[in-house]
């Protein structure tokens, strides 16, 4: 009698936890304990299975109402952030356009009225760039990519490598000797760099499209750049720079030769 009562009490204790067990609400130690009991008690296992079936039946029966797709679409539209119509942005667009116009105007004025001081500074900067290129070339183990004293070899080598062609005169009989050439860049523009020798001096002649450069060096003439002499001139839309430690007269002579 006492044993029956004890057994009933035990079953009540376990079955009282079955719903929480099936709902996944017991902590891990309680789960393990009940798992162990279910392995040994067929009565509680059968009851757990019946309750599980009941849960599944309710779940299936409870999922029975499906909304009209039009309702979903209506709600979706009501909560989707509307793309602003262009006219809603009109004040912002107008303000932006006005600002751009002002900036563009200021830039145009700035470009047209570059101060002499600024011009000189930019010229100095570019002269320094050219001096760097010249020094780098002289310091290189392979100063030129096309090694030839033959202008008929050097000039065609640049075809397809730079966006222009240039005149390379016959140097025979002059004091200058053509060493070779390579492609160079100034202000992100490709150009030709020709290396000449006069006595023991090397002269780099850079040729770029004048329109590709930010400054007009047409009247720059002679300049000094880090102890180098720089001769600038333009011809047929091309900007020439001759830089070397040779005498300015040598540079002028080469200029005259190339400018023929």
């Amino acid at each position: 009698m006492t044993e029956d009562r004890t057994e009933k009490t035990t079953h009540e204790r376990w079955t009282g936890q079955l719903d929480a067990y099936l709902d996944g609400e017991l902590d891990s130690s309680q789960m393990q304990e009940l798992d162990g009991h279910l392995r040994e008690c067929s009565g509680c296992t059968a009851e757990a299975l019946r309750r599980l079936q009941w849960k599944r039946a309710i779940r299936s029966a409870g999922q029975c109402y499906v909304a009209d797709p039009a309702v979903r679409e209506r709600i979706r539209k009501s909560i989707t952030p509307a793309k602003a119509a262009w006219w809603q942005w009109r004040p912002a667009l107008a303000a932006t356009a006005a600002l751009l116009l002002v900036l563009a105007g200021a830039r145009i004025i700035q470009l047209e009225t570059v101060s002499p001081k600024r011009q000189l500074a930019q010229e100095g900067w570019m002269a320094g760039e050219l001096a760097d290129l010249h020094v780098a070339t002289l310091a290189s183990a392979n100063p030129v990519d096309v090694v030839s004293s033959d202008r008929h070899s050097v000039k065609p080598w640049f075809a397809g490598k730079i966006p222009f062609s240039f005149n390379l005169p016959e140097l025979q009989g002059s004091q200058f000797e053509l060493v070779g050439g390579r492609v160079s860049y100034l202000e992100q523009s490709p150009g030709a760099q020709l290396l000449f020798r006069v006595r023991k001096h090397q002269i780099s002649v850079f040729i770029f499209q004048a329109k590709a450069l930010p400054l007009d060096f047409a009247s720059a003439g002679e300049m000094d750049a880090r102890s180098f002499h720089l001769e600038c001139w333009q011809r047929d839309g091309l900007q020439y720079f001759a830089i070397s430690d040779a005498a300015p007269e040598d540079l002028r002579a080469l200029r005259d030769l190339l400018g023929k």
Partner: protein, 180 residues
């Protein structure tokens, strides 16, 4: 809040809330027992939720938050006010009823058609119906249900226990009536 922040917030809300539409509608229909009312309930729920989305704390349970808004909206509707006046047999604070060992005769599931079960669920007091559906259909945890229903976890457990018992009894009666 600036326009861009509002749009970003609305966009986040849409991503979180729209996938819940089917579930919310199903629950709304069970509560209201009427298609038009359910549609209105869901529409109103989304409108209220979007409006109050800034008050939603990221990291907390969004689903429970949405169901809570839906349930509050229902309780404030005419049908909801009427349903809330139906008294429950027993106090919520009673501990969960001890489960009975059910005999094979009381196990009706094999003989119960889905229609009978749905009818029995529909006839449950709304306080039992909602907790049962959130647990079995939405598979919410007790804590999530407590959040959605704005009641303590203990009350969730006792209501759920009573809801199950009441449902079993209702199905038994229906099956008994329908048996030849």
């Amino acid at each position: 809040m600036c326009v861009l922040e509002e749009r970003s917030s609305a966009s986040s809300f849409e991503q979180l809330a729209l996938p819940l539409f089917g579930r919310l509608y199903n629950f709304a229909h069970w509560l209201a027992q009427n298609r038009e009312e359910a549609e209105d309930l869901v529409q109103e729920t989304y409108a209220k939720a979007l409006k109050g989305f800034s008050s939603f704390e990221p990291g907390t349970n969004f689903k429970a938050w949405m169901f809570r808004i839906l349930r509050n909206t229902f309780l404030n509707s005419r049908t909801g006010l009427k349903a809330a006046t139906v008294p429950l047999d027993l106090a919520d604070d009673d501990p969960a009823l001890p489960a009975e060992l059910e005999t094979p005769e009381t196990i009706l599931i094999d003989r119960t058609s889905e229609q009978i079960l749905q009818g029995a669920i529909a006839e449950l007091p709304v306080a039992y119906r909602e907790v049962l559906l959130l647990c079995e259909v939405e598979e919410m945890s007790y804590q999530e249900m407590a959040t959605a229903l704005a009641i303590p976890v203990g009350t969730v457990m006792s209501r759920l226990s009573r809801a199950r018992r009441t449902l079993r009894e209702a199905v038994r009666q229906k099956v008994g009536r329908s048996s030849p």
